[in-house]
Symmetry: D2
């Protein structure tokens, strides 16, 4: 048993990439509010890395944008990678089985907001490339 359920907001537009073997993968970060306030009386958030594979990855890439709320159901997974300084590092990610789009971000035209244009794209790429997907994560 390895279950995770999170509700939060995307900290940026999701990034969709393809592995060497052609699998679709979508990555984004979810800001999940903590259930309590800190010493300064502020409610912080945890910024949790989400990974989605396959058909749902495409849906997320097409439908989700920065700031939207999403309800993620998945499992915790830990990946190791080699840092630039030669040491081994670990990242903890939630591999999503399903993603529910809680709200559609309203636009002036009423049309669904479309993610991804030149500006944010490069920023996302640098984010995504920090921990490469050398190995396939089976679904």
């Amino acid at each position: 048993m390895n279950k995770v359920i999170l509700m939060g907001r995307l900290t940026r537009d999701p990034e969709v990439r393809y592995t060497q073997t052609g699998k679709v993968v979508c990555q984004f970060t979810l800001a999940v509010d903590r259930p309590f306030a800190n010493q300064e009386g502020q409610r912080e958030a945890d910024f949790i890395a989400i990974v989605v594979w396959g058909k749902i990855a495409e849906l997320c890439g097409n439908s989700l944008t920065k700031g939207q709320r999403a309800l993620v159901d998945g499992r915790l997974q830990i990946r190791s990678y080699d840092a630039k300084d030669g040491t081994k590092r670990w990242v903890t990610e939630v591999i999503a089985n399903s993603v529910e789009f809680i709200e559609r971000k309203a636009t002036g035209s009423g049309a669904p907001v479309q993610s991804g244009d030149a500006g944010p794209k490069s920023e996302m790429e640098s984010f995504g490339s920090a921990v490469p997907f050398d190995e396939e994560i089976p679904f």
Copy 2:
């Protein structure tokens, strides 16, 4: 909503410590089997850091030992700390609300296994001190 449910085995005896303000905290790592086999046909595991506070922390310290199964219910949390090289690092932990002891490890005498003796103790300490609890994590 931030929920995690994990079932796995302790990779070592739990470590119990006290914060500067006297709160009890118990840490251990849970090996959670992946739901599929890798390319070599082996089932790997994720090694997930668990943190327990308060009364349950004491119970875990007294009752759980390396190799035992536990069912953990909690929430994902990310802590930052300063690495020895001066850079900022993040650890992802599961803050447990409850821990169910699935099985009592059998001994020759039939008595419950008692955790903690000199050998493994020092090893645990080094593990625990890697990411110090400078700040209180409110419950």
Copy 3:
């Protein structure tokens, strides 16, 4: 371990009542969409009874109205009661630990919708009295 997580819409305004010992209890039904279509190609819903106690009960009574979405976290519980025909019956309910209000129902004035007026009230009362709370459900 007894955990339930549901997201759905209230089928009517919640009903708030008080037990003989003065505890607040709030009841409503959540329509939760099924994850698939039936033979006629329609997606049905399950109508699940929710029970909330204490402070959260009051919040639900004040903030939730028919049609709104809510994210409920709780546990399954089965209560028995005596039907009018003298036989024993059982109801399955979700005892909520927390209820997240996913959306505020929009009004013309922009003010939060207020639940409860004479009309629907009597209808709710009849609903609530079907299975009385003779015994306290400890929290």
Copy 4:
């Protein structure tokens, strides 16, 4: 989102049956301890109906027996049926996606306990027939 996670003990051997269209279905009841004691200081249990379909149904039928612990992950579903008195009734069931066998019941020989022989079989049948599966529940 409709998620249920339960850990408890089978109150009887599971019953395996087949629908008119040849689908395998396995039913059992899980006794799930309540997290608190009642007024008499006793911990009660909720007796929750579990339904499993397909391959996992067969595994459950072959591997689980009365008294064993199981960890069930599934979703809540409500089925209606016509009572003998002509009225409509509802049953709430947990449709399991996965069932983890927490422990193997020990036998003198050390061999896995095999469920199902003539005696209990007839008892199970009567249990199962109380609420028939006239309609297929899609998976």
